[in-house]
């Protein structure tokens, strides 16, 4: 498999390449639940296939080996006025929150009870508001960035 000529492989093209090469690991585990949201057009009825649309921008960590991700991580070195769009979804009007926190905690081997001090980095956030889904309709929703 050769993906070095793919400048911005999306998840779909990347998975297609992997699947054709027969090398994808845990393919059955790759997709999260479909995004649900309340439809304004449906007066509050659930629209179970209201997929979100990703922001057009982002970055490619580990290029050329990994996918392009539609996400702009926060950096302490960037002034607030110069940040890139902190939302992961486009066609969106609402509140967003994003964090970049590092700290520590305790890992526990639940088989033996052994504890280990560990470090963590939490890049987490939320989006809450209205958006145009991939179905072209207007929806309201609350989403966590996990």
């Amino acid at each position: 498999m050769n993906i070095t000529n793919t400048v911005r492989p999306s998840r779909r093209t990347f998975l297609g390449t992997m699947a054709s090469a027969g090398t994808a690991l845990g393919a059955g585990l790759l997709c999260p639940k479909t995004a649900y949201a309340n439809s304004e057009d449906g007066e509050g009825q659930h629209a179970p296939c209201a997929l979100l649309n990703p922001i057009p921008g982002g970055l490619a960590p580990f290029k050329p080996f990994a996918i392009f991700i539609h996400h702009n991580p926060l950096s302490p070195a960037v002034a607030l006025a110069d940040i890139k769009d902190p939302s992961q979804i486009t066609d969106f009007d609402g509140f967003v929150g994003l964090t970049h926190i590092r700290g520590g905690g305790t890992g526990i081997d639940t088989n033996t009870g052994t504890t280990t001090p560990l470090a963590f980095q939490a890049d987490m956030g939320f989006s809450q508001g209205k958006f145009i889904g991939a179905d072209g309709r207007r929806h309201h929703g609350t989403f966590a960035f996990v």
Binding site: I67, K84, I89, F126
Partner: protein
């Protein structure tokens, strides 16, 4: 999660990477949560995100998450370490994130990225835990000094940018 000292985040020391995976429309790590999970008091520069038992995947490390378990070769002239391939396992996470108090504010109108809004740089804390077969993690007591940068915003992008 990393084996290094608290506050560190070196890829070669990463042993857990929890996320909900990219969805079928290429949206990055977003999952619907109940409306009540998020509370925003934007005028007071406060918000919270509280969720219990969110089903996630543990991809072991960021490199495996973004290569769908293929890892990194580490020997082809690119500035990345070798990371062994690892398949994801199921886990759950619970978290309580709080944004608290404006440090800076900015009105942004970004034509190139088609987004605008009013943004706050804020303090933030997190209390979170993870659980999976054979392993559990509990973060330290929420510590405001651990925040590197956090942002709240009221924004419009895409078709709402105009």
């Amino acid at each position: 999660m990393y084996t290094g000292p608290a506050g560190s985040a070196n890829l070669t020391e990463q042993i857990h990477d929890y996320n909900v995976h990219i969805d079928s429309n290429d949206v990055f790590w977003m999952v619907r949560v109940p409306h009540e999970a998020v509370r925003v008091d934007f005028d007071d520069a406060r918000a919270s995100l509280r969720v219990q038992g969110v089903p996630v995947f543990d991809d072991h490390d960021l490199a495996n998450s973004l290569t769908f378990g293929l890892g990194l070769p580490g020997d082809l002239g690119f500035p990345y370490p070798a990371i062994a391939p690892t398949a994801p396992v199921r886990a759950t996470v619970s978290f309580d994130v709080e944004w608290n108090g404006a440090v800076a504010t900015a009105q942004i109108h970004n034509d190139a990225q088609q987004f605008k809004g009013f943004f706050l740089s804020t303090g933030a804390t997190i209390n979170w835990s993870a659980e999976q077969p054979g392993f559990r993690f509990q973060s330290e007591t929420p510590d405001p000094t651990r925040n590197l940068v956090s942002v709240l915003g009221h924004e419009q992008n895409g078709v709402f940018f105009g």
